[in-house]
């Protein structure tokens, strides 16, 4: 018996991590030829963006894909990051699970330190060629050029060649070039699409891409502001697992249990540490490295029952509503969307001790396809997710919202909605719970999914408000055409035929409309927004009421103003007390806004007071809290339909007619 065990023991040997991944490449996402090409670029670009942000440099990234043989490509990714010191280069690119961020609780793109070395490994497996890395850390430093391969048996880098080298015109940065078997494709899952989406959520980056046909696409920077640096935090105790606790206790530098709890975790105070130790029946002064399994279990149970504050959330870096809009606009302008719903950035929440936050943006209309499912752009920590859409918490959340309430088509009120829309969802967290190491889909954690749904609904409400407004306007515009164009012509013609003077139209007009109509427009010229608000009194009486608008604070321009507002508040709320407007008369208000970018203002927010809300179209009733606080609550104000039409006492002749030619 012993001899068999000996035999088996001889065969059992350590499998290196790299060997494991070599045999299970799909775990890292290299499971198809076209996907492998994208994954490699994604890993390199993620690293570049992370490095630039850590060094507080506006990222400048150049991606090139060239075809060297039928299925072989040479890929290079160059950045202007801080560079990598010479002795760290081999480990960063040639050793799996080597990285600076694995132990940090912090929002960053890369985490495990697998990605780029896996790319190098995949390249060498499929082509036999090493990766070439050039890096330079400062203007006065020499650059280094290294040829690197992964020694998969030992999970260590093999440096085939290293030379110092003068990198002209480059202050600092890194460039990796590798060969890889792959397939270059276009469409929704392509290198270009990945970079396009990366550009949307990284509006501070400038990304240039040259495809195998030599076509170059540049995504220009939409902002010069770096996202605020993310802070590193200690692990939060909730959701802690026994194994993690044990290894942390073993490795801690703190020699007493009390200090270990207090200093190695966030949100555990001196008092709370004492409380936990008492409940676990452990001595505050005990050496954490020497706790038994039994004691660890008691400690974990005590932590679980303790009341612990949620983790700090200032470690997260949301993109922010303004930049999401800018980023979308920057990249999507060619499809001329009619509406960018104000993006929603939710307050941070916590899942299993990890802070996270959700951001949502919706783009509607323009040249987006009308009868196709909406496009969902998924992002985790500013990285686009192109694969496994169906398995992702973001998709699940989109599917479970009843979009029919927000103006999109959706069969049965669930599933991916149809319509000319793009829905963007960004989940930022110190630990995004992916479904696999390939980081393609976010796991359906209830807390996260619920947050996403909430954010989608808030954003959806703005979309619905916009669509309602649009519908009301187009209905009114049709009537406007009757009274402004058709009716005057009928009057002229009939007068001519019967040989009488042209009759006055006011009676007919007010009977057709019987409403005050507010028509508005925004245009941008020579650095100013020009705003026109026209008020048509199409009621039989004269009207006197107040008009209110919410404008960007400080932008109101008094120059050349003809009709002064009664009040301009610091927060941007402006009020006009209008003079009496006689029946069928019109009043125009024209003014400018200064000091804004074109995209900062595109839709007027108009309110009216002192008039029956059903008697006015194009202005919402003034919210009750106008005088109290900001207008954020307007998301719940549903747009009003037009005043109900009088009961039609007669059948419409032209609509009652059937197809008469078929008999």
């Amino acid at each position: 018996m012993g001899s068999i065990a000996d035999e088996l023991a001889k065969k059992q040997k350590e499998i290196s991590v790299s060997e494991f991944f070599e045999r299970n490449r799909h775990i890292l996402g290299f499971d198809s030829q076209s996907k492998a090409l994208i994954m490699g670029i994604k890993e390199a670009v993620d690293n570049s963006l992370d490095a630039c942000e850590e060094a507080d440099v506006l990222p400048e990234i150049v991606v090139t894909v060239e075809r060297t043989e039928k299925d072989e490509f040479r890929v290079s990714v160059e950045d202007n990051g801080p560079g990598i010191v010479k002795k760290a280069i081999p480990n960063v690119f040639g050793r799996l699970l080597y990285g600076s961020r694995f132990h940090a609780v912090r929002q960053s793109r890369g985490q495990q330190g697998i990605g780029i070395s896996a790319t190098v490994m995949y390249g060498q497996i499929t082509t036999g060629k090493p990766a070439v890395v050039i890096s330079k850390t400062g203007a006065d430093d020499v650059a280094w050029r290294m040829e690197i391969m992964v020694n998969t048996k030992r999970n260590l880098p093999d440096v085939l060649k290293e030379d110092p080298f003068i990198w002209d015109g480059k202050e600092h940065g890194t460039k990796i070039t590798y060969h890889m078997n792959g397939r270059y494709v276009g469409g929704r899952q392509s290198v270009l699409e990945y970079l396009r989406q990366t550009a949307i959520v990284n509006p501070h980056a400038r990304i240039t891409f040259t495809d195998p046909d030599g076509r170059r696409t540049t995504f220009e920077r939409a902002t010069d502001r770096m996202p605020p640096a993310t802070k590193e935090i200690k692990p939060h105790p909730s959701g802690l697992e026994l194994g993690t606790l044990m290894s942390m206790a073993k490795e801690t530098k703190n020699k007493s249990l009390g200090r270990f709890l207090q200093l190695d975790f966030s949100r555990i105070s001196d008092r709370l540490a004492k409380d936990i130790c008492e409940r676990a029946g452990l001595d505050m002064m005990a050496d954490p490295a020497k706790l038994t399994l039994e004691e660890h279990k008691r400690l974990l149970a005590a932590i679980g029952t303790a009341k612990i504050m949620a983790p700090p959330t200032d470690c997260l870096s949301p993109i922010g509503a303004q930049l999401i809009k800018k980023g979308l606009r920057n990249v999507l302008d060619e499809v001329r969307p009619e509406f960018y719903a104000p993006p929603v950035t939710r307050d941070p929440k916590v899942h299993s001790g990890n802070p996270f936050l959700v951001e949502v943006g919706i783009v509607y209309g323009g040249d987006l396809p009308k009868d196709a499912p909406v496009q969902i752009l998924r992002f985790a920590n500013r990285v686009p997710l192109l694969y496994q859409q169906g398995a992702c918490a973001i998709t699940k959340a989109v599917e479970s919202v009843d979009w029919r309430r927000y103006g999109l088509e959706q069969r049965g009120g669930s599933g991916i909605p149809f319509g000319p829309a793009i829905i963007l969802v960004h989940v930022a967290s110190t630990k995004v719970p992916f479904t696999s190491e390939a980081k393609e889909a976010i796991a359906t954690i209830p807390e996260i999914q619920a947050e996403i749904e909430l954010a989608l609904k808030i954003c959806g409400r703005s979309l619905k408000t916009h669509l309602n407004k649009k519908e009301t306007k187009s209905k009114t515009r049709v009537k406007f055409e009757i009274v402004q164009e058709i009716l005057p012509l009928i009057a002229q013609k009939s007068a001519k035929i019967v040989g009488k003077p042209v009759p006055k139209l006011s009676g007919s007009i007010t009977k057709i409309m019987n409403v005050v109509w507010v028509d508005d427009a925004v245009s941008f010229e020579k650095g100013h927004h020009r705003i026109r608000v026209s008020i048509y009194n199409y009621t039989p009486q004269s009207q006197k009421f107040n008009l209110h608008m919410v404008l960007p604070p400080g932008a109101f321009d008094y120059k050349g103003l003809q009709f002064f507002p009664t009040e301009v508040r610091e927060d941007g709320k402006v009020t006009w007390e209008l003079p009496k407007i006689a029946s069928t008369e019109r009043l125009d208000i024209n003014f400018s806004l200064s000091g804004l970018n074109k995209e900062d203002y595109d839709e007027n927010e108009i309110y009216a007071s002192g008039i029956d809300p059903v008697a006015i179209i194009g202005a919402e009733p003034l919210p009750g809290d106008w005088d109290l606080k900001g207008l954020e609550v307007t998301e719940s104000v549903e747009a009003k339909g037009p005043a109900p039409e009088e009961e039609e006492e007669e059948v419409d002749y032209d609509e009652a007619k059937e197809a008469l030619n078929d008999d």
């Binding site: 057709i512 059948v651 032209d654």
Partner: protein, 364 residues
């Protein structure tokens, strides 16, 4: 200006006057018209035809469509007044193209302009000819021993025998078949056969059916034009000839018969001028399909819908038609009149028509 023209212009001006007055008194201008729908045609026992009932609809400036139609009406009124004054006339199609210059009031289709011309007939009780508007479609052809006189475009009166003085395509029925233009002088024929398709018309001509049975053959050319229907009515009333209608056996052919015999929905305001209430349907009937074992096609969805619509059509609300329609629905088949050629080219003239016409008492 003739008396008719005078009357037409006067009634058109009344329409404009009414619109003017409504605007002047601060109302929303509108026109009220009888609804031209299937559900609003009623049997008129005085004339034995179907006419519009009492249901009316409004064309009001409250809606864009209504407002545009009112504006177009004003333009059409002006256009007609001009033509009357200048002694011109135009086809309906020409009027449609003239509207190209009316900007906002431009017609969006010729159906729309044709319909408006009919609307004006209805409101004024004039005929579109009084408005100097003619249909561009000419009437169909006639072959048979019938003598007529027609005043030609140069004002010369020509005497024509529709069998001996015409070629194989027969006498072409002009647009205007009223007495000032066409007189019916005499005939030896005993009855009129109105035929839906050109193929069958030619077959009867080639086989000499008109001479052998003393018949006047009229080609309907599908759904017959006003002038064709008016001509048939005059043959029936003035020459006292019985009229039979010979069509395909499908839902659309039933409607052709209805418009000859009972009046079309579209022109129900002038049914008493156009319809021949004593006209009879010879076939192809639904029962012919089985009795003669004719080659058939399956009914399409559109056919079935048309048949079901006919079940709700007051013109078909009698036992005979309900039976025909239901039989056809049950068979789920339709047949062309030329399907009779299954039994040879002479079958229709030697056997089918003589058999059916004898049963109907037309042939004795």
């Amino acid at each position: 200006m003739t008396e008719e023209e005078n009357r037409a212009v006067r009634s058109l001006k009344e329409i404009a006057g009414s619109i003017y007055d409504q605007i002047d008194s601060g109302k929303v201008p509108k026109m009220t018209l009888p609804l031209r729908t299937k559900s609003n045609i009623r049997f008129d026992p005085k004339h034995g035809v179907f006419k519009y009932g009492k249901a009316t609809g409004a064309r009001s400036a409250k809606k864009v469509n209504g407002a545009l139609m009112l504006l177009r009406t004003m333009y059409v009124l002006e256009f007609i007044e001009d033509m009357v004054q200048n002694g011109k006339s135009s086809t309906l199609r020409e009027m449609y193209y003239i509207s190209e210059g009316w900007e906002k009031a431009k017609f969006s289709s010729q159906d729309e302009s044709n319909m408006l011309a009919e609307d004006l007939e209805i409101v004024t009780a004039c005929m579109r000819e009084d408005f100097k508007l003619r249909a561009e479609e000419n009437g169909a052809s006639i072959i048979g021993d019938l003598t007529i006189s027609e005043m030609d475009r140069k004002g010369k009166v020509k005497r024509i025998n529709c069998r001996d003085d015409v070629g194989d395509s027969g006498y072409g029925i002009p647009n205007n078949v009223e007495r000032e233009k066409v007189q019916l002088l005499g005939t030896n024929a005993k009855f009129v056969v109105a035929i839906e398709t050109g193929g069958m018309f030619d077959r009867l001509v080639e086989n000499g059916f008109d001479e052998r049975y003393n018949a006047v053959l009229v080609h309907l050319k599908g759904q017959p034009a006003r002038s064709t229907r008016r001509f048939i009515k005059r043959l029936n009333e003035e020459m006292r000839l019985p009229v039979v209608v010979f069509t395909d056996g499908d839902p659309w052919s039933f409607r052709i018969f209805a418009s000859v015999a009972y009046g079309a929905i579209k022109t129900a305001h002038i049914s008493e001028y156009l319809a021949t209430p004593t006209a009879e349907f010879v076939g192809i009937t639904a029962s012919d399909i089985t009795n003669y074992d004719l080659p058939t096609d399956k009914l399409t969805d559109v056919d079935v819908r048309a048949l079901n619509a006919e079940l709700k059509d007051p013109r078909f609300a009698d036992e005979y038609w309900r039976g025909e329609i239901e039989t056809m629905l049950k068979l789920n088949k339709k047949a062309e009149q030329q399907a009779l050629a299954k039994y040879g080219l002479d079958f229709v003239t030697d056997r089918y028509l003589p058999e059916k016409l004898s049963n109907m008492g037309v042939l004795r």
